[in-house]
Amino acid sequence: MTQTVAAPSRASTGARRRTNANQRRQNRAAYLFVAPFMLVFVLMLLVPLFYSGYLSLFATRLIGGSQFAWLTNYIRAFTDADFLAGVGRMGLFLVIQVPIMLCLALFLALAIDSGRARGAGAIRLLVFLPYAVPGVVATLMWGYLYGQDFGPIAQVFRALGFGAPNLLSASTILGSIMNIVTWEFVGYNMIIMYAALRSIPSELFEAAEIDGAGQFRIAWSIKIPAIRPAIMLTVIFSIIGTFQLFNEPSLLKGLAPNVIDNAFTPNYYAYNLAFINQDVNYAAAIAFLLGIVIAIVSYVVQLSTQRREARAS
């Protein structure tokens, strides 16, 4: 897994003691290099994680204060219609928005990498630009763009003689949020895939080209399989991102207060539970559950692709 520098393969026994001393010194150096990160990692990641798990097992009652409550919070979550609706919404996100976003990113990465479009470098930067826009600003901006009275989308529709669509209604809000997230992250995913494409040895498809393979064939049979690890990375990041949706619903709530409820996304729900309802224990359970759901979904996705790969080989 790790690449070694000190290969202790010097055969002479006289040198062994010195080698051991060297190895020890190198070990010490390695630990010192890793220590600062691991310290912050433990304090800011592992400790809160376990604390969150601990908190989720308690319940605060009016009388008696905080009491150990076993899995009450989790049972409550599984029967909480608001929470389940939020999870369902994210499930919808996962099966609609994530594939659209990643396919678009993959198409752009392949198209730019193929070198067949004029100005590909400029396009690459323009597509990536939204990633540099904070989610808050992106949401504010799209909020104005969606606006029914003065938003340019509505203006165009009206100019064409159609009625202005209400992009912030109960039936459209999820799609509108999907669009914001897609806009923000296509470029990021595209860059990761593009970088992976650049590191494929070009001999691979030069040979295929000589054999008469077309661009689509090369993309499908050589390039996409070659960057599968990078694609997996974007899939996992997208799953994590989806379940963490917070900025978009919390900011759009100002524009569509009756459409977005407190449990619109699980993350937003956890926030509201903790900071509005002051129910820290239940919020911790929701957050923890969310983490477990993400881990399971990511794991299943990884496993299924590995199995497919195993079957293919």
């Binding site: 890793v34 504010l140 340019p152 040895p201 691979l204 903790a274």
Partner: protein
């Protein structure tokens, strides 16, 4: 994940048949290839989708409030940019400047710290074999999957027990952890630093830290820029963490500040004049990061491309 293999071993068998004298410039063959007009048109149409909202923001920031609501989104009204900018920087006694300064401080300190920690750790994971390396790295890798939400709330509760909520520390310290940065650096360092160079430095009597400092860091440049930029964007754009950690508005970063301004202006109450201020403030807030990406693009794209995502 598998080891990042260095160059040669990944070469396919077919490449052996090639003329060895031919230089292995990766994409040289692309240049004399025929362009496709259809693909060019499709790509530029797609690019419009990404650029039009930003163009709207730029145009809207030049309009006054009246024009904002009376003119077409992509048409210019009275050129009011300078007045808007003045409003942005003077509203509420120039709180915007304070937010901008906070953002710069939070993001710069976090990103420098995070990339430094990630670089050291990634380098060690890539270049040393030490007891426990495997398990430690697996734990770090697994942590990429932990959602921020699961952490932000307990972190807040822990911090409030120590009385450090509502301080810059509460925003900066949690942002120092970048498991993905460690992952990127490990893969990058494995590729970018030849083992023989480290060995040579050792033979010359350099200590491990001197090797890291004088050999490692120099070769890791593009990788560090990549990790730095991703960490910078993550903190610059962070909304959730400062939102829960901070409650005095002069500690807010731009994201939280702008969101509050937007809430006030959308909430009505005669404060409609704020719309142009929020829009112009938003436009101003995205300029620094875009400049950073444009200026450093050569480095971060190299950093990503030369190994970082090759698993």
């Amino acid at each position: 994940m598998t080891t990042a293999t260095t160059g040669e071993s990944t070469r396919p068998a077919s490449s052996r048949a090639q003329d060895p004298a031919r230089p292995r410039t990766k994409r040289a063959y692309n240049r004399d290839r025929r362009r496709s007009n259809l693909l060019t048109v499709i790509l530029w149409l797609l690019a419009l989708y990404f650029i039009l909202p930003i163009a709207w923001l730029a145009i809207a920031s030049t309009k006054d409030n009246a024009d904002l609501f009376s003119t077409f989104g992509y048409a210019f009204g009275h050129f009011n940019l300078f007045q808007n900018l003045q409003d942005v920087f003077t509203t509420s006694n120039g709180i915007y400047l304070q937010w901008a300064l906070n953002t710069v401080i939070y993001a710069a300190v976090s990103a420098i710290g995070a990339s430094f920690l990630a670089t050291m750790a990634g380098y060690a994971f890539a270049k040393y074999r030490f007891p426990g390396a495997k398990i430690l790295f697996s734990v770090v890798l697994g942590a990429i999957m932990i959602p921020l939400t699961a952490l932000a709330l307990p972190t807040y509760l822990i911090f409030s027990q120590f009385g450090i909520t509502n301080t810059p520390i509460a925003v900066i310290v949690p942002s120092l952890v970048s498991p993905f940065g460690v992952f990127l650096m490990r893969v990058y360092a494995a590729d970018a630093i030849p083992d023989s160079m480290i060995e040579a430095a050792r033979v010359d009597g350099a200590g491990e830290f001197r090797i890291f400092w004088q050999v490692g860091l120099r070769l890791l440049g593009p990788g560090i820029v990549t990790v730095f930029l991703f960490a910078l964007v993550a903190t610059w754009n962070n909304y959730f963490l400062p939102l829960i950690m901070l409650n005095s508005s002069n500690l807010y970063p731009l994201t939280v500040g702008l969101a509050q301004q937007q809430a006030t202006s959308a909430g009505g109450g005669g404060s409609q004049a704020l719309f142009s201020t929020v829009i112009t403030g938003s436009a101003v807030s995205i300029v620094p990061l875009i400049i950073a990406f444009l200026f450093l693009q050569r480095y971060w794209q190299t950093g990503l491309a030369s190994g970082s995502v090759k698993e």
